[in-house]
Amino acid sequence: MEKPLRNFAVGARLIVRGFQDTLAPDLRGHLSAWGLTPGTPITLLAHHPVTRIAVEHAELALEDVIAQAVLVEELHPT
């Protein structure tokens, strides 16, 4: 079941499923440039002070409003 990134616990292995419509197209473009497209596996590293995720071996920092708009699904339910 896909839910916003902010709803998962730190350390969760997730897979990107899509984005909320609220996310502005240019911001969405940035995420996709970083490789954050549907089907991408990610790891949630932290929620504060901003959301941090690992994509491959790269670490991205996303402000809450963006993290809320990234829809993900758990890869290996814990």
């Binding site: 940035h30 994509v55 071996h57 670490e59």
Partner: protein
């Protein structure tokens, strides 16, 4: 045969280090994205007559920021002998995604898979030869910082061939590409890649096509027809197609994806962005910088150079030399008088400014090389939110504490014109460069901690109030923070030394001529009687409003040339100023117009009109704040 080779790749993958290895030329390298903001050129050592171009990093094309567009323009306009994509070996999926676009450019190409050491340290295992076969081009594993794989890369560059590769997009996209290719002009790049860039809405390609006299209406109509078939923007559809293909290739090539780094340096990296631990760590970093720059540089080294070497040895010797050998009094004055070229210009530049700037650039280089600055953008995001910006703005702001001119150029890493405008304005208004900061610290030290805190508090208050207002007034919306955090690394002494040297050189070339011109100008104005006149004319403002002695007008006049030069002018007044007057003078000068070089840079980056508006706002504001502070200090009885 053409003779330039472009290094292209994503940000922070080591392009500039490879450029240095190939050419022997050094361009500033840093462990955060956006260090290369202009294209650098150098002749390849192993390939006589071949020019190598170092380009700003592009995550993907179309370009999203101005520095990325510079790269797109290079690809469109330069007739390249070969293209070297520099990629991060540990982020293979992202690297291959860009290769899939570049490989169709119709230019001989090599993929340098850099940072192989980091990939191996994380337990990643893959077969570069298999990747080469998948992409139809030469793949060379490299560790640029360790000089590994450079000979193989040079060899591959001489033998580079046009890749035998084609990614097939969805039918409707392929049909749009076919239609566009029919009307596109002959170019250095393949029409297919130009069509792909145009369909993705790439600004640089649109400009280039317009410059070729192509009818953009017909092209735009075709693009819109394709866009109508999708709900998502075309750029994203194309990007996803490449991402999916890259994923499949990486899946076939990689044997072991590895795991996250767990060394102690990485752990410090985690702590530096931790919601609680990040703050004490920041305090520790700031204290370290203060101890090194403020105490060791601005106090110990300045004392050693200015008091002991210049005032004690060099200046008396030079003075007697000049007075003995040059009988003409005005020339003596011109060289060693109160506004003399040597006594004012060179002594300030070498004894007062140089030690401070050198220690600042060393400290800055260490933090930059470690990857700490990118993490600072996470920690400072909330503060920048108040200014209508995001944490990425911290990079030019911190660099501004070194040199505002350099920092103004670095605003190009910001994503929107709105962010660039606000940051440029705040840099011009309230960020003192290291030279000025050093003089300010030196003066404030004699007034006590209270004075320092008042100065700091006033400047921060002005920065945030004006920043908050600018955030409200400048049109456009705030962009939330999204940034990449490069891996934390142990700073390398050689890198820090090279970086410090290249910055110092840049700085000294800018500072020394200006200090000499400034001293000469002050001398001439003094001789022509303009200075005494100005001191009289400025009296109502300087004495009446700011409460400073009338001689301080000269310092404010010097502040037009450089703020730190003005501050040194106040410094020279010494005991003629009370601590209250010194404090008011320093706050006024900190907020005052930036130096001539910065002003020229603002004109270059933002245009004459915007620069003029900024100056028209900054000058009255500096006097307003200075006068208000004077009254406030009198009110609370500050002595």
């Amino acid at each position: 045969m053409n003779d330039s080779i472009a290094l292209v790749g994503q940000p922070n993958v080591g392009k500039s280090v490879i450029f240095h290895r190939l050419t022997g030329r050094y361009v500033n390298v840093a462990n955060y994205p956006g260090t290369t903001i202009e294209v650098a050129r150098g002749i390849a050592r192993g390939l006589p007559g071949v020019e190598v171009l170092d380009t700003p990093g592009v995550l993907t094309l179309p370009a999203r920021s101005e520095d990325e567009q510079a790269t797109a323009r290079i690809l469109l306009n330069e007739k390249l002998r070969a293209l070297v994509q520099v990629g991060d070996a540990k982020n293979l999926r992202r690297t291959v995604q860009l290769s899939l676009l570049l490989a169709e450019a119709g230019v001989p190409m090599v993929l340098a898979l850099n940072m192989m050491d980091e990939a191996k340290a994380r337990g990643m295992a893959f077969d570069p030869a298999k990747l080469a076969a998948e992409l139809g081009l030469a793949v060379v594993p490299t560790v640029a910082t360790g000089n590994e794989g450079m000979a193989a890369l040079t060899q591959a560059m001489t033998e580079a061939r046009i890749p035998v590769f084609r990614l097939t997009y969805a039918d409707e996209i392929e049909s749009a590409i076919d239609d566009l290719v029919l009307v596109l002009p002959a170019a250095h790049l393949s029409p297919r890649v130009i069509a792909l860039l145009y369909l993705a809405g790439d600004k640089a390609s649109e400009e280039w096509l317009a410059a070729q006299g192509i009818d953009l209406f017909a092209l735009a109509a075709r693009r819109e027809r394709l866009q109508d078939e999708y709900t998502e923007p075309l750029a994203e559809i194309l990007q996803r197609a490449r991402m999916t293909a890259a994923e499949a290739i990486v899946h076939r090539v990689v044997k072991n994806a590895g795991s996250a780094g767990h060394g102690w340096v990485q752990r410090i990296g985690q702590w530096s962005v931790h919601r609680w631990l990040g703050w004490p760590l920041l305090a520790l970093v700031l204290y370290g910088v203060y101890a090194f720059v403020g105490q060791f540089g601005a106090k110990y080294l300045v004392d050693l150079l200015e008091k002991q070497l210049f005032e004690g040895v060099i200046n008396p010797w030079f003075h007697s030399l000049v007075t003995t050998w040059i009988p003409i009094v005005w020339i003596q004055d011109f060289l060693v008088g109160p506004y003399g070229l040597w006594t004012m210009g060179m002594t300030y530049a070498l004894a007062l400014i140089l030690p401070i700037v050198t220690t600042f650039f060393i400290a800055f280089g260490i933090l930059e090389d470690s990857g700490y600055f990118a993490r600072l953008s996470v920690l400072s995001n909330r503060a920048f939110k108040v200014l209508g910006l995001n944490g990425r703005a911290v990079l030019p702001m911190v660099l501004g504490l070194g040199c505002v001119t350099m920092a103004t150029l670095t605003t190009r890493i910001l994503h929107t014109p709105r962010e660039r405008l606000i940051v440029t304005f705040l840099l011009a208004l309230a960020i003192p460069c290291s030279a000025q900061l050093g003089v300010v610290m030196g003066m404030l030290a004699s007034y006590g901690t209270g004075a320092f805190l008042i100065w700091l508090g006033t400047v921060i208050l002005v920065l945030f109030t004006v920043g908050w207002l600018s955030g409200k007034l400048v049109k456009g919306k705030r962009i939330p923070l999204m940034t990449e955090l490069p891996p934390m690394r142990l700073p390398v002494a050689g890198n820090v030394a090279k970086k410090t040297w290249s910055r110092l050189k840049w700085y000294l070339e800018e500072v020394i001529p200006l200090f000499l011109i400034g001293a000469a100008l002050m001398f001439v104005l003094d001789r022509l009687g303009f200075l005494p006149w100005l001191i009289e004319a400025g009296e109502p403002l300087v004495t009446g409003w700011l409460g400073l002695p009338k001689e301080a007008s000269a310092a404010l006049l010097m502040g037009f040339l450089r703020r730190d030069f003005g501050a040194t002018g106040l410094f020279a007044l010494g005991s003629a100023l009370s601590p209250e007057q010194g404090l008011v003078g320093l706050v006024t000068l900190t907020i005052f117009v930036p130096c001539i070089a910065s002003t020229l840079m603002i004109i270059k980056e933002q245009g004459l009109k915007t620069a003029a508006i900024m100056m028209a706002l900054i000058i009255p504001l500096a006097f307003l704040i200075g006068g208000l502070l004077h009254r406030a200090l009198l009110f609370v009885g500050f002595a």
